[in-house]
Symmetry: C2
DNA sequence: GGGCTTGCTTGATACGCGTCAAAGCAGAAA
DNA sequence: TTTCTGCTTTGACGCGTATCAAGCAAGCCC
């Protein structure tokens, strides 16, 4: 491994499990383009658990891609209610909401010791003009975020507590398995309160619903350790209320 | 007026109130760039009330900008629950969620006789490489959509029925007044059920809450005609739960 | 170890909104 | 005009989740 630990190129090679695969692999860049990209990516930044990557209202300069670790993003109302807008694991991008106003629109907080790549947006934008596939990739990433937000709206607007939690667990399971981790045996990185905030529920409801799932034998809860015993049952629960496929 | 009624350029000149102002004005394009843009914009399309502009699952080719009229976009679950994800008036863009998968991710339906401009995405993307301010503008538009979605999440996740409806009415009021219409006297283009779907409420709750506001003398409801009598009271209601400004 | 903090679980109760039902009203069609 | 149809309003009631409160387990510092 070279000293280019901060480059996407190096990441692609060095870090097959926890890397920016989704961010860099589908591009199909040639060697020269890859070098250009490398030149723009800033050294990665490490954060301790609980540390803010950025705060709502701060000046926006860069997007951040999670290399390792786990983040939440959230918006706060004036009277202090907090809405978690997403949980982000390796390969996922944060900060897209800052482009519109040149100010970050949410807080990003590490849920465990983490590492991110900084992508200075201006330079990525410029680079996009020279590398069409890069430009297209950024449009796709932003669009994917919009699609994700729409499905969260469906969840918050239409689903009951059990459906929300089942959808949440299955989504987590699917993302973890896409990264090479076990799909049915994982550790929750966030508290019950943070799950509740994301799902529009109170922490007690999250706790009760997990207990209910456990009583039915669908999963085993041991604090933050979750084992999905009958994921099919959870899938059936969300089947009706999840977004229709066409 | 020329026969270029389909061009953004023409719109800019011809249609100061109901146009794509937000879409085209901030660009600061020169005459040549404007001509390039004109060449890409397709003839505008007219839709009758209730007609679909596109459907979830259809192939994605173009974005659509509302010239006149009014649209809703919505996603549906397999068992038929419908979540309205937004209402769109003149100058606003629809279809951004289709970029990620090359399939439209929601339905777009005209709520009254309407007219849209079709923007073929591939050609806009190509043009963006030659006109940096255009590229940047598209990034900003997509980011703005993400910011909007986040505030909807805050609404659906944290607010009570009264707060949701007040926030909805004030948002509508603000957007109308930005387009030169009266801020405190307007016609709702959508049904109670559609408002409810957007706000995560049932139509009866929407109706009851409107009645409650009327009883308190904050507004006058006459079917679809709304007059805000004391908008300050509504503002105070949402002040605490709206997103904090930094 | 003892005492503290923090996060989680569980129960009892309250309340907001959903559900069901009936009736009113306006616009479209005949 | 009359009838029909879709949308809205309003009331009564019930369910689901929030709220309040108590107790428990794990981790941490003294």
């Amino acid at each position: 491994m070279t000293d280019h630990t901060h480059s996407l190129h190096a990441l692609k090679v060095s870090c097959s499990n926890c890397s920016l695969r989704e961010l860099c692999l589908p591009l199909g860049l040639n060697r020269d383009e890859m070098a250009q990209l490398d030149a723009v990516i800033r050294q990665s930044r490490r954060l301790k658990r609980g540390e803010y990557l950025f705060r709502s209202g701060e000046g926006f300069r860069s997007l951040y891609a999670v290399r390792t670790g786990y983040f939440k993003t959230c918006v706060s109302s004036q009277d202090g209610r907090e809405q978690v807008t997403g949980f982000h694991m390796s390969g996922e991008l944060m900060g897209l909401d800052g482009i519109s106003s040149n100010l970050h629109g949410c807080d990003a907080i590490a849920l465990e010791d983490s590492e991110v790549c900084e992508l200075p947006f201006n330079r990525m934008e410029t680079l996009g003009r020279d590398i069409p596939s890069l430009q297209h990739h950024f449009f796709r990433l932003m669009s994917r975020e919009i699609v994700r937000d729409q499905s969260v709206m469906l969840l918050l607007g239409n689903m009951k507590a059990e459906e929300r939690l089942a959808a949440f667990l299955l989504n987590l399971s699917q993302r973890l398995s896409a990264r090479g981790f076990a799909a049915n045996d994982f550790i929750l990185r966030m508290s019950r309160e943070e799950i509740g905030s994301f799902l529009g529920l109170k922490l007690e409801t999250v706790s009760r619903t997990l207990s209910k799932f456990q009583q039915q034998g669908w999963l085993v809860v041991d604090h933050k350790h979750i084992q999905l015993v009958k994921p099919e049952e959870l899938k059936q629960l969300v089947a009706g209320c999840s977004q229709a496929q066409h």
